[in-house]
Each structure stands twice: as structure tokens, then as C-alpha cells.
């Protein structure tokens, strides 16, 4: 199948506790469809064959499943821990149902890894978990030969909060707000995808106006997220003026989010059966004024990211990810689209009203940092157009329908295009008002392997600008 359709990629692997068996569900996307391959292995001996030799993109997903659910992937064994902390006792898999987490006792074990000379000429440089170039705690051990990077070893999980486990003890209603807190930047995406998945199990038909309002909330989120990374990239490169200008212009978008939802950051708009707040007709001119203002500023910003000599020197031909590698590592979002892989969930598997709204799918073929930022720059314009269209074509009507609190037995998967790429939620219900399993696959987890590949052979000074072009979000990655 991998040969038949080059865009086939593994989105994620969900581990499930099915009593005596461990369920290992492979969520696969192709250019036309999305489906799940289900496998079951006995709990005593949960052994499976690894996929990394035919599909390297499976690496992180297999390790995560091994760490949290205890499945063993032959050929890709886990040494130590992947997401859990190093002092987590071996043999206790937190997502299994028969584990008593109150019995787990953690002993602090200080890590002794420091910058040191490896054999010969190579030097190991530790970036993180506390490092000025990374705003969130994550560790990358970079081995350099002179100035050239020869190896990157990641260690994620410093902000692992166990939200997937926590969701198994909250009601669906409470979980809407819980999953929103997975990420501060793309919170409506998380809330929306969870809600959409539950609606799929309930077979609810959401009113048309609510669908438009949801698209507006999601696109406002994309705007502010992209403007954030433009500023952040300037900061990483050491160009503070760029950072200041982009964040100044992000502020009106934040005000719009506050206007439409009641809070700058956490909109808390999504709810099963619709949306919690309507947009007042009086506010529409105000929203349109902000959109027009940003549209008039766009040419200047496009000029900065395409022609500005400093940024061009730091970004052009840095961190080139070829199309073959992008397909093999199944990267998502702007990173894939900058390498010439035209995947966008909004086009491939439209959700809500994206099939009614005209917009372009942005694809660049350069595959470097410059292309990744310019994909986002073009998407900014498309987002503004989508907002404009949605505000004009929004029908009148109710914004939510009554939804039951208990969800019948069933399971569903939803994917959406978050600002950083494809976001997946898998929800399994057991007939009560509390879900049995909530699986979250965030885009950054799928995109980090591409950095491990592209950093090699480049200068250590290019690591920050290469890395920030992934728009990494570690709160998402670790959950």
C-alpha cells in the first residue's frame, strides 16, 4: 500500500487496554481516505513487529505506545523512558486500567549528562531542558564535529501532565475544558477536535451557524498562532525588531478572540452540540476592520520574510527536508507543504464548512526554513480570506442543540488541520458519561523527527532557526 499511494502515512498508534488484551490501533491516512488497522496482542506477551524499517515515521508513535501502554515493538525496543520521567518505575504502564497510580513512588534521580568531549574530535552540546533558545523545557543533545552537527538525540516529556489519563476520570463536559489546556496556543483546535469526535459517536448534526462560528474560531486561532511563530522566529534568529512588529500586530487578533469568546487565550467556545457564544451582529464591522487592517499590512510582512537580507541569509537553504524524507517521516502541516507534499486536512477530508469555503492550498517545493515560513505567510492571507467569507456567508439560526450527557458505546476518530498540522483525537466510550480512552496525537510529535534529520550536516548556529521553523509546541507534544 505504501508503494501504491505515496502519500500514505501513519498518523499515530493508539494503545488500548481491552482487559486481557492490549489493542494496538494504527491510524493510517492516504491521499483519499483515513482508516484504522486494529491489532490485538495478549497482555502477558504484547509483542508486535516494528514498522520503522518500512515506514520511519512510526518511530516516535511506537515508542510512545511502548512507554505508556507497555506494548513491545520488536526491532524498536525502548531503552529507559520516552515520555515518562527517568525515575518512573519500570514495568508500570500508566495508561493500563489495572494500574494503581497511588502506589507509584518517584525517587528524585539527578541527571549527570553535561557538555563533554566524546571520542576524538566530537563534542556533545546539551540544549535544554532549560535553555535560552528553547522557550519550553525539552532537551536535545547535539553532537558536533567542529561546527557541524553529526547527531541529535531528543528527550521529550518534561511537561508530560498525563492529560490522556486524566481524561479517563472526567465527564465529557469537563473534558472539553481539560483537553483545551493541552496547549495554550492552539486550544480551540483541541477543544473542537474532542467535541467533534464525541459528536461522531453521538451522531449529532450541528446547526449550520455553529459550524460557521467554529470555523471562525479556528481560523482566528490559526492567524494568531502563525503571527506568533513569525515573531518567535525573529527572536531565535536574533532579530528583535521582527519579533516586536509581529507581536504588535498579533494583539488585535487576540482582542478579537477576547471579543468573540470572553477570554484572550482560552476561548472555551466549543461544546458538544454546537458553540457556546454567538457573534453579535454589531461586532462584525469591528472584526472586518481588523481583518482589513492586517490585510493591508501583509505585503510589508511578506517582503520581510522573502527579501529581508538578514532573514534570508539565516533561512534560505537551511534545514532542507526533501520530499521523499517528508513522505517517509510522515510529517504534517506547513512542514510537509513546504517540502512539496500537498496534505491539508481542510482540503483532503473537509470538516465543518471548509468544503463550502474557497481557499488555496499552499505548497512550496524548496523544503528549507525559508519555505516553511513562507507557507505560513501565504496561509495567513488565506485565513484572512476564509474569515472574510465566513463572516459574509454565516446563516442565521440556532448555535447549539441539546446533547445528551451520556454517550453510547462506540469509538470515533477525528482529524483537523491545526496551525501546526494534522491533529488527531481518538475517543472510545463505554456507555457512561466518562470516556474510556482519549488519545491525542499532536502535530509537533510527528514533526520532530524531521528536525533530527535536517539538522545533521549543518552548522550548530543554524539549529535554532531550523528548529523554530517547525513551530514546535512541547506542551502539545508531551500532553
Amino acid at each position: 500500500m505504501l508503494e501504491a499511494d505515496e502519500k500514505t502515512g501513519l498518523t499515530t498508534i493508539t494503545g488500548l487496554d481491552l482487559g486481557t488484551n492490549i489493542g494496538v490501533y494504527y491510524h493510517v491516512r492516504t491521499s483519499k481516505s483515513f482508516f484504522t488497522i486494529k491489532a490485538e496482542v495478549p497482555k502477558e506477551n504484547p509483542r508486535l513487529k516494528t514498522l520503522i524499517d518500512i515506514h520511519p515515521g512510526a518511530l516516535f508513535h511506537e515508542l510512545e505506545c511502548a512507554d505508556l501502554m507497555g506494548a513491545i515493538f520488536e526491532g524498536n525496543e525502548l531503552n529507559g523512558h520516552f515520555i515518562l520521567s527517568e525515575n518512573w518505575p519500570n514495568g508500570i504502564y500508566p495508561l493500563r486500567k489495572d494500574i494503581d497510580l497511588s502506589q507509584v513512588k518517584l525517587v528524585p534521580t539527578p541527571e549527570h549528562e553535561t557538555n563533554k568531549s566524546a571520542e576524538g574530535r566530537e563534542v556533545k552540546i546539551i540544549i535544554g531542558p532549560q535553555h535560552p533558545a528553547l522557550l519550553e523545557p525539552e532537551k536535545f543533545s547535539v553532537t558536533v564535529d567542529g561546527e557541524t552537527v553529526t547527531k541529535v538525540e531528543p528527550r521529550i516529556g518534561y511537561v508530560h501532565r498525563g492529560i490522556e489519563k486524566s481524561a479517563e476520570s472526567h465527564t465529557y463536559l469537563q473534558n472539553t475544558y481539560l483537553v483545551e489546556r493541552v496547549c495554550g496556543i492552539c486550544n480551540p483546535c483541541h477543544a473542537y477536535t474532542f467535541v467533534a469526535t464525541v459528536e461522531k459517536i453521538l451522531k449529532l448534526e450541528v446547526p449550520e451557524r455553529a459550524r460557521y462560528l467554529r470555523v471562525i474560531a479556528l481560523e482566528l486561532n490559526r492567524l494568531h498562532s502563525h503571527l506568533l511563530v513569525f515573531g518567535h522566529a525573529g527572536l531565535e534568529i536574533g532579530y528583535e525588531a521582527v519579533f516586536q512588529y509581529f507581536w504588535r500586530d498579533r494583539e488585535p487578533i487576540m482582542d478579537l478572540i477576547e471579543l468573540t469568546s470572553g477570554n484572550r487565550v482560552f476561548g472555551s467556545l466549543m461544546t458538544v452540540g454546537g458553540i457556546r457564544r454567538d457573534i453579535n451582529q454589531e461586532h462584525i464591522p469591528k472584526i472586518k476592520a481588523v481583518i482589513n487592517d492586517l490585510q493591508s499590512k501583509l505585503p510589508f510582512y511578506r517582503k520581510i520574510y522573502t527579501d529581508e537580507p538578514t532573514l534570508r541569509l539565516r533561512m534560505k537553504d537551511v534545514g532542507i527536508l526533501s520530499r521523499e524524507d517528508a513522505l517517509k517521516l510522515s510529517v504534517v502541516g506547513p512542514i510537509a507543504r513546504a517540502s512539496g507534499v500537498d496534505i491539508d486536512v481542510r482540503k483532503d477530508r473537509p470538516y465543518e464548512v471548509y468544503n463550502e469555503i474557497p481557499f488555496k492550498e499552499i505548497v512550496y517545493t524548496d523544503g528549507d526554513t525559508w519555505a516553511r515560513m513562507n507557507v505560513r505567510m501565504d496561509e495567513l492571507e488565506e485565513s484572512l480570506n476564509i474569515l472574510d467569507y465566513a463572516l459574509d456567508h454565516m446563516p442565521a439560526g440556532p448555535i447549539r442543540i441539546e446533547a445528551p450527557r451520556t454517550v453510547p458505546i462506540g469509538e470515533a476518530v477525528s482529524t483537523i488541520e491545526a496551525p501546526r498540522g494534522e491533529l488527531l483525537y481518538y475517543v472510545r466510550s463505554n456507555g457512561t458519561d466518562i470516556p474510556e480512552r482519549v488519545k491525542i496525537r499532536t502535530p509537533t510529535l510527528a514533526n520532530i523527527p524531521s528536525f533530527l534529520k535536517t539538522a545533521i550536516g549543518e552548522s550548530i548556529a543554524d539549529v535554532p532557526s531550523n528548529f523554530v521553523s517547525l513551530d514546535p509546541c512541547f506542551s502539545c507534544t508531551d500532553r
Binding site: 475544558y177 525588531a241 504588535r248 470572553g262 457564544r277 537580507p309 538578514t310 442543540i401 445528551p404
Partner: protein, 152 residues
Amino acid sequence: MTEKTEKKQTSRISPIFKRAISHLFHKPATTKYPSVKPVLPPDTRGKLVYEIKDCNAIDFGSGPDFRLDIKVMRGSICHVCERDCPAGAITIVEVDGKQRPQINLNKCIFCCQCVDSCPRGAIKQSDIYELAVTDKASLIMKPKYSQKDASQ
């Protein structure tokens, strides 16, 4: 140096340079908080306000109800806010022999689900956002009757 190379050099000056210079003469984009308070949009989700005299619903009204399963709630004590709060910020305490919610703003995440859930509208949102205190206990809102309520 010919004219052509000069032109090439000028084009290598960052477009942001001119903009940055011009901003020396512009008004700053930042606001003068706290001396000038921001204008908040309507429906800002700030501190919760609780009206004890509106509380304890038995009459659920008519029409579509998004808020609760009435079957679960049958009985005199409602507890919906406690049940729905995602942060566990609401606990039920006894006031004058009746059960009433106590809202702990230290735990509150300002989602205002309790505002949506309350069948009698006893909990409301307000636009009070300056909640910094030196004493954590003062953010626990104890339900009590005001003197005005007691005299009625």
C-alpha cells in the same frame, strides 16, 4: 563605484529599517495599564458572582434545556455546578441548614460552565479581573446571606 552597484547596495538595506526609524515618531502600541484601565468587551469571563437567594433550583422551567439531565437532578438539592466544574473549584457547604456552593477562585479556570449549567442563574460572570491577593483564603467565596437578603 558605478551607479549600478550603489543601487544594489541600497536594496540590501532591510525594509524594516525605514519602518523602525519612522516608529520613533509614532505613539507607542503599548497601553498605560494600570493607570489607564483597558476597555473590556461585553461578556468577559472574569470573577464569578454568586447570588445565594437565587440558588437551589427545583423548578427547571420549560423549553430545550442544555444544562442537565432532569432525571439525575430530581430532588431538592441541585449540585449541578459542583458536578460540572472541570477544575473541582466548587464544593457544597452547609449554610443555615441548606446546602450551597462555595467557589474557590484559586482553582477556578474561568470557563464559566457553572454559569451555563446553573438552572436558576444564581452564578453569574462579571468583568472583574484584578484578582491578585496576598492571602489565598480571601479568594474562597463563602456563600452567605447579606443583611438585605435576611431582612426580606
